[in-house]
Symmetry: C2
Amino acid sequence: MRSGGVPTLKDVAAAAGVSVMTASNAVNGRPRVAPATRQRVLDAVDALGYEVNLTARRLRAGRSGTIALAVPRLDHPYFGDLAARFATALAPGGRHLVLEQTGASKEGELTALSQARLQMYDGVLLSVVGLQHADVDRLQGDLPMVLLGERPMPARFDHVMLGNVEGARLATAHLLARGARRVAVVGGALDEEPGVSSTRTQGWREAHEAAGVPVDERLVLPAPALEMAEGRAAVDRALAEGLALDAVFAVTDQVAMGALAALHSHGRSVPGDVQVVGFDALSLGEHLWPALTTVDPRHDLLVEHALRLLDRRASGDRADPEHLVLPVRLLERASTR
Amino acid sequence: MRSGGVPTLKDVAAAAGVSVMTASNAVNGRPRVAPATRQRVLDAVDALGYEVNLTARRLRAGRSGTIALAVPRLDHPYFGDLAARFATALAPGGRHLVLEQTGASKEGELTALSQARLQMYDGVLLSVVGLQHADVDRLQGDLPMVLLGERPMPARFDHVMLGNVEGARLATAHLLARGARRVAVVGGALDEEPGVSSTRTQGWREAHEAAGVPVDERLVLPAPALEMAEGRAAVDRALAEGLALDAVFAVTDQVAMGALAALHSHGRSVPGDVQVVGFDALSLGEHLWPALTTVDPRHDLLVEHALRLLDRRASGDRADPEHLVLPVRLLERASTR
DNA sequence: TTGAAAGCGCTAACAA
DNA sequence: TTGTTAGCGCTTTCAA
C-alpha cells in the first residue's frame, strides 16, 4: 500500500497471496472462489480496512450505485421531503441517493445540468421546475433519466407529472362548494409560461367555469419564486388595496403559509373570514394553526413510478417513454369550513 | 465515437487531427498549445458536443470539482438552508455541492459514511449530528474533511461548532430578563449523551444559575428527533398535565413551531401568557404569527470557516486541526416581550 | 509545441 | 478455481 494512502485491491491481493482478480471475485461475492481463499481475502480486507474505490468501479463497470435527484433549490422543504422519500425507497436495494442543485434556467445557473455531472450517476431523477425544454434537450447519451414535474419537455424521456390542473381544480371547487365566491390564487400566473403557477391557475379557472362562478383576474396574485415571503407580501398588498376576497387558493403550501401570516396580521380569521387551501401536503401544514387544507401530490406514487421507470431504462429496456400524470386528492383540514 | 455513446477526448483528438494529449491541453486551457491548434480542438468539441468524463478525471487526477455535504436528514429545513448556502459559496470557484444523507448512528443507517462513498469527492463537510465518535474515527486516508456541529469527535479533524451552550444561555437569559420564571426547554435532554438537546439544555441551566432562578427539571420536555410533531405533543402533554410554564425555550425552530401550535390549541396567547424562543433562525420563523424570536447560529460564519478549513487541507496543509466555536446572537421578534 | 507511454483502480472476457 | 490480459477516459511525465 502506498504509504499514507488508502489500500487498494492490489494490496488486499498481496496480503492474501492471490491475484487481484481473485480478490475482486471474493470481495464481490462472486461464485467460483474456494471458501478458504475467500476467507483469506476477507481477512485481508478486514486487516487493511479496504473499501472499493467507487470511482474506478464506475469507470470500468459503468455503475456506482448512486442515483441523483436534481432539483432547482435545496432550501425548499418540498424537495427535501421528496428527496427523503427517494432515499428511503432506494436504500433496500443497496442504492444511494445524492441531491444535486440545478438552479433555474433563467438565471443561467445550470451547473448541475451538464452531461459531465450527470454521467457520474447510474441514473438521474430530474425535477424540471424552472428548466426549459432546450436545457433538457441538450442532454445526449443513454443515461437513465426520469423527468419529474409538469412542463413541456422532450418526449423521448420518461416523465412523471403531478396532477397540477386537477389538484387546483379540486382545491378551488372545494372552496366554491363551501360558499366562497372571491377566491384569490396566490402564486398564480396568467402568462403562458408553463409551470407550477400557470397550470395550477388553469385549474382554478376551470373550477370556476364548472361552477358557473365568474373569474376575476385581479384575484391572481403572483409570487414568482413561490416563497413564503412573496405569498405574504402579495396578500398584504391585496388586502391593503381593498381587494375583496373570501378564500385563498395558494399554489404551494409555502405560499399558503405566507398568506396565513398576512391574513392574521390584517385581523382576518381563518376559516371564518377567509378560507385557505394549499398544495403539496408538506408535513408542517398539519401543525399550523389552523391546520392547512391542502392538495396531496401523492409523492408516494411519484417515487414508485419514477423508480420503476428508471430501473426499466437501467436494465436496457428500449420501450417507448411513458408520460404519466398522477392522481391527486384533497386533504381537508381546519383552514376550510 | 462508439455509436450511441458519449464522445470522448479520443474522438475530439481524431476530429481535430491531433493527439489525445494535445486535445486535453487545449480543452483545459493549458499553455503551450498553438492558437490555431487550440481552435481546431475547440471546434471539434463543439461539433461533437464533448464534455469531460469526471469519473475518469477523478480516477486519474484525483479531483472532480465536487464537494459533499453529508447530513443526517434531507427533510429538515435546517439542512436545506445550510446546503443552499454552501452551494452558493462554492459556485464562484467553479465547484459544486452535492448533498448526502448519512442517517443516524443508532439506526445503523450510515450508508453515506463509508470511505468508499466519501472518496468520490474532493472534500467532505460532515454534519456530525446523530453520529458517534467511533463512526467518524473509522474514516482513514487523507480526504479533506471538516466536521460541523457540536459533539465530541476525533481531534484530528478540523471541526466547526455552533455556539450551542452560549446560544441557549442567551435565549433563556432573555426570557428570564423579560419576567419569565417557569421556562420549559422543549426538545431538551438531561442525559449525558452529547448533542444538540443536551448542550442546549446545559445553556438553559446555566442561564438559570446566573440569574439565581431555581431550575425545575420537570420543565425539560424531550423531543428526540427534534420534529415539529414531537414539540407539539410534548407541550400538549405538559399543559394537559397542568405543568405551570410562562415561557418556552425550544431547542430548534422546528420544535418551536410545534410548541406554538400546542400553545395555540390550548388557548395560551404568545407572548402574553407564554413567551417563546427558538434556535436556528430558519427563514420561516420570520413569517409566523407571532414572528419567532430565535438564536441565529450564524450560518454565514459557519460556511466561511468550514470552506476555509477545507481548502487549507485540500492544498496539502498539514497544520494542526482547528476546533472553532462560532459566536451566536439573538434575533428578537414578536414571540417574546 | 506536440505526442507516446504509463497508469489511476477496477472488472469483463478469456486462458490456464 | 485461479490468473492473465486488456482497457474504461483521462492526465502526468518525459521525450521528440
